[in-house]
């Protein structure tokens, strides 16, 4: 655009008066003084801004303003002096956390549980979406979809109670398959139990977005591939998967931002004395120390550490995705 303008202007000055009769709107608009440009912008787009204004205020008030409280991680909290009145101690609480005897165990548990859940929770919805997409009849498809996403709405407490009942030794349905062992009491079994039940519960809901992407595939592509002799599996491999790859990429990046945020409630409910070496994660530790143990500064420091790691992961994932496939969030 710029190139053509320049050429046009050059041509104009050369040609003389002929081109001066054709005003170049873009440069004219850009050359107006700043206050005039702002006023014009407001007149054009004020409705959009008004629509977004409540949301902006809400996020500003409840997400950005409380950020001043992060200084609690660097101050020694004194209840008589309030949030900002404590003594400045710098990185003392971070050092205390890194030197705590449970630190390496906490980090290993958190990473292990969250990476397993991330990877498995990423693969299975895709497989399920591809399978559901193959169903011919729309009624059967809708029925299967409804059945699979129903467990998503069951509350965590009920799910964990179900887990406890199914896995209770001697009487549980599933524990009979494992020789009546007390599975909930084995540290090695904790991660598999966690991610298997996570996948079972949320697979149906998460595959909805992939199904939406798959429904936008051009049927002409299927026909072209079939003419070339593609079987069912090859159709999936060459048509379906490339279609949903951008969606996969974006969802993967979003989930990477949650790597250290292993959900608190489910782990807390599933924890017991025997599986604690494998089930103590950063969020449950912070709860015990901060809320129950009354150490606000220490737990703020741990939470800040958690958030910073998540942010770094998000950035890395975004960069990698941009380099690899041109899809990225920012």
């Amino acid at each position: 655009m710029r190139a053509t303008n320049r050429n046009a202007n050059a041509a104009g000055t050369e040609a003389g008066t002929a081109s001066a009769l054709v005003p170049d709107n873009r440069t004219l608009l850009r050359q107006r003084p700043l206050p005039v440009r702002i006023a014009d912008y407001c007149k054009r787009y004020w409705q959009l801004w008004l629509m977004a204004l409540p949301g902006v205020c809400f996020v500003a008030l409840f997400s950005y303003v409380p950020m001043y409280g992060i200084q609690l991680a660097f101050r020694q909290y004194d209840p008589t002096k309030g949030l900002t009145g404590g003594r400045w101690v710098g990185f003392m609480y971070f050092r205390q956390f890194f030197n705590a005897p449970q630190f390496s165990n906490l980090l290993i548990n958190t990473f292990r549980i969250s990476l397993w859940t991330l990877v498995m929770g990423f693969i299975f919805p895709i497989i399920l979406a591809l399978l559901i997409n193959q169903i011919g009849s729309t009624r059967v498809k809708g029925f299967v979809q409804t059945i699979t996403y129903m467990p998503h709405f069951i509350s965590t407490v009920v799910i964990v109670t179900m887990i406890n009942i199914f896995l209770s030794p001697d009487t549980g349905m599933v524990s009979k398959l494992f020789g009546n062992a007390n599975l909930m009491g084995q540290p090695n079994a904790f991660t598999p139990i966690y991610w298997i039940t996570e996948v079972w519960q949320h697979c149906g809901w998460n595959c909805i977005i992939y199904l939406a992407a798959l429904s936008s595939v051009d049927t002409a592509l299927y026909e072209a591939a079939k003419i070339d002799g593609a079987g069912r599996l090859q159709l999936i491999r060459y048509v379906d998967i490339p279609t949903i790859l951008p969606t996969c990429g974006i969802l993967l990046i979003l989930n990477m931002g949650n790597v250290l945020n292993v959900g608190f409630e489910k782990i807390w409910l599933m924890q017991n004395t025997l599986n604690q070496p494998a089930s103590e994660v950063i969020s449950t530790f912070t709860y015990k120390i901060g809320i129950v143990g009354n150490q606000f500064s220490y737990s703020t420091a741990i939470g800040l550490f958690n958030t910073v790691i998540n942010f770094v992961f998000l950035m890395i994932a975004n960069q990698v995705a941009r380099k690899a496939s041109d899809t990225s969030i920012f």
Partner: protein, 539 residues
């Protein structure tokens, strides 16, 4: 022209809508100011805000008859706010940190010693003349006063409660199914070995006579993840001669006193013996396979026996009274007298908790308005009439013409439909010379604790941390993180040993790790507290 007008109106409407939408985000804001010294309700009478700890079965506080009579007696309006005990655990610290407590706090929201970290409570000792009933209580029961008196400035920031002399024993007891013992021709066990034999007999010889091997010879509550809890399986430590005190800090961390020296039994040889005992029981199937992890509701169901045939299923367990096995099965059970664990133990002892005095009955906020009314309210609560109603529930109390009280037996009928409790979970003070007829709980407790009297007498004064020894604010913070580091490791390892064995091999490594995690520092702090606060008091 017309189009312009329409646009103008649209702008105005859009503007109003946007302002309203934004105003909804401010809906959460609110608050009232406590700047003046009085707060009046709409009809000019003082308005007092009271917060109370609520159990799940309590009826709303304003429906408990004594609360309305309280309003009449103090000529004021009371606004009640109740918090359930399950959610209070998480709300408590944040409420304290925000300095936003109610005018009066009741039924165990806060305890004596809290004022060391949060100086927002009123000192009662300066106002005792305004509350003659409370003054009389503290004079008659100096031990109660000792329990709440602040160690540094001698003030009283939380009023104590007295549940009666018959409660001056541990509510944590051990029971055995006597009917089964009689049926199999066995005697009461007098050592750990004999107890194991009895449990084996329970498992194999079908004492409940229903032809199924569904007996649970011994049942225990699951291990907590970060300390020893009430009615814990480690009450067995008492059989080895080391007294537990699972009721208040630092007992749940295993701290006890041996003739003036503070020690911790989690690294003692006696602890090894008890863990081995439970491991043997677990290996032989004498404990349920999921005993260490099963939910408390599963435990309660097991305790109630077979629902269909009414046969008992549990042989030995730790409870409060034998009526905890349900009224129908209660007659089968009896208290298990503490025995010496083995030949090396001279005298078994028993848990040194006491349910008599509590230190968290009433607290008042320092900047609460209407102080004169507040003193009147508290004084009325400590008068005998109100004390009896608060303890038993106005619905069940009748005052007789001679000044004695009678309790309606329907209060103790566990088969009735109405499972509500009609009063808060607290008491105030009932003078010893008051006659109360029909207190079934008192009879049951006295009967259950009879067997433990001898063992408790074996505990000398220098063998336990008394209830009035409190940590200061900064000590509390340091202890908090030490407790987490040490006890999480202890509970995990203990659970693993009981379930899977291996204690002999791993014991030395365990002791080293526990010491590295900070146990010596915990003992050092408590020795300091003991020396300063206990040795200096003359008994």
């Amino acid at each position: 022209m017309k189009q312009n007008n329409g646009r103008g109106k649209k702008k105005v409407i859009a503007g109003i809508a946007a302002v309203c939408a934004m105003a909804t985000t401010l809906a959460g804001c609110g608050g009232d100011s406590k700047s003046s010294d009085t707060r009046l309700s709409s009809d000019g009478k003082p308005l007092v805000k009271i917060m109370a700890l609520k159990q799940d079965t309590d009826i709303p506080a304003k429906d408990m008859v004594w609360t309305t009579e309280l309003e009449k007696a103090c000529d004021c309006h009371i606004e009640w706010q109740e918090v359930t005990s399950t959610s209070w655990n998480q709300q408590k610290n944040t409420t304290l940190a925000s300095n936003d407590i109610a005018d009066i706090s009741l039924a165990g929201l806060f305890y004596a010693g809290q004022e060391n970290s949060y100086p927002i409570f009123e000192d009662f000792s300066k106002h005792l003349d305004d509350m003659p009933n409370v003054k009389k209580f503290l004079e008659n029961e100096p031990d109660a006063k000792l329990m709440v008196q602040n160690n540094e400035d001698g003030g009283i920031y939380s009023l104590p409660q007295d549940s009666g002399e018959w409660n001056d024993n541990s509510s944590q007891r051990m029971f055995i199914n006597k009917q089964w013992l009689d049926k199999l021709g066995l005697k009461m066990p007098t050592s750990a070995e004999e107890l194991l034999d009895v449990l084996r007999a329970f498992k194999t010889q079908d004492p409940n006579g229903n032809g199924k091997a569904d007996e649970i010879p011994m049942d225990v509550r699951k291990l907590a993840t970060d300390n020893f809890a009430w009615w814990d399986m480690f009450l067995m430590m008492n059989m080895t001669g080391i007294p537990t005190r699972l009721q208040g800090w630092p007992g749940p961390q295993g701290i006890y006193v041996d003739n003036g020296t503070v020690k911790d039994w989690v690294v003692s040889d006696e602890f090894k013996k008890v863990v081995k005992f439970y491991n043997t029981a677990m290996q032989e199937g004498l404990l349920p396979k999921d005993a260490l992890t099963h939910d408390d509701s599963t435990y309660s169901t097991e305790r109630e026996g077979d629902q269909k045939t009414g046969a008992a299923t549990v042989g030995v367990s730790f409870e409060g009274t034998r009526y905890w096995y349900t009224d129908k099965l209660a007659d089968q059970y009896t208290s298990l007298t503490p025995f010496a664990f083995d030949d090396t133990v001279d005298h078994p002892v028993w848990d040194t908790s006491s349910s008599r005095y509590g230190s968290g009955a009433v607290q008042v906020a320092k900047d609460a308005p209407n102080k004169a009314t507040i003193w009147k309210i508290i004084d009325t609560m400590y008068s005998t009439d109100f004390a009896v109603q608060i303890k038993y529930g106005s619905k069940f109390v009748t005052k007789n013409s001679d000044g004695s009280y009678t309790i309606d037996p329907s209060k103790y009928d566990s088969s009735k439909e109405d499972k509500n409790t009609y009063t808060l979970n607290m008491s105030t003070y009932i003078p010893e010379d008051t006659v109360i007829n029909g207190d079934v709980e008192k009879e049951r407790t006295e009967e259950a604790s009879e067997a433990f009297k001898a063992a408790r007498a074996n505990v000398n004064d220098k063998s336990y941390m008394p209830y009035y020894a409190n940590a200061s604010g900064s000590q509390d913070t340091e202890l908090g993180s030490l407790y987490t580091n040490v006890m999480t490791y202890v509970m995990q390892t203990t659970g693993n040993w009981i379930q899977n064995g291996g204690i002999d091999k791993e014991w030395d490594d365990y002791v080293k790790k526990v010491n590295n995690a900070g146990l010596p520092r915990i003992i050092e702090i408590w020795q300091d507290i003991y020396d300063k606060q206990v040795k200096n008091r003359t008994e």
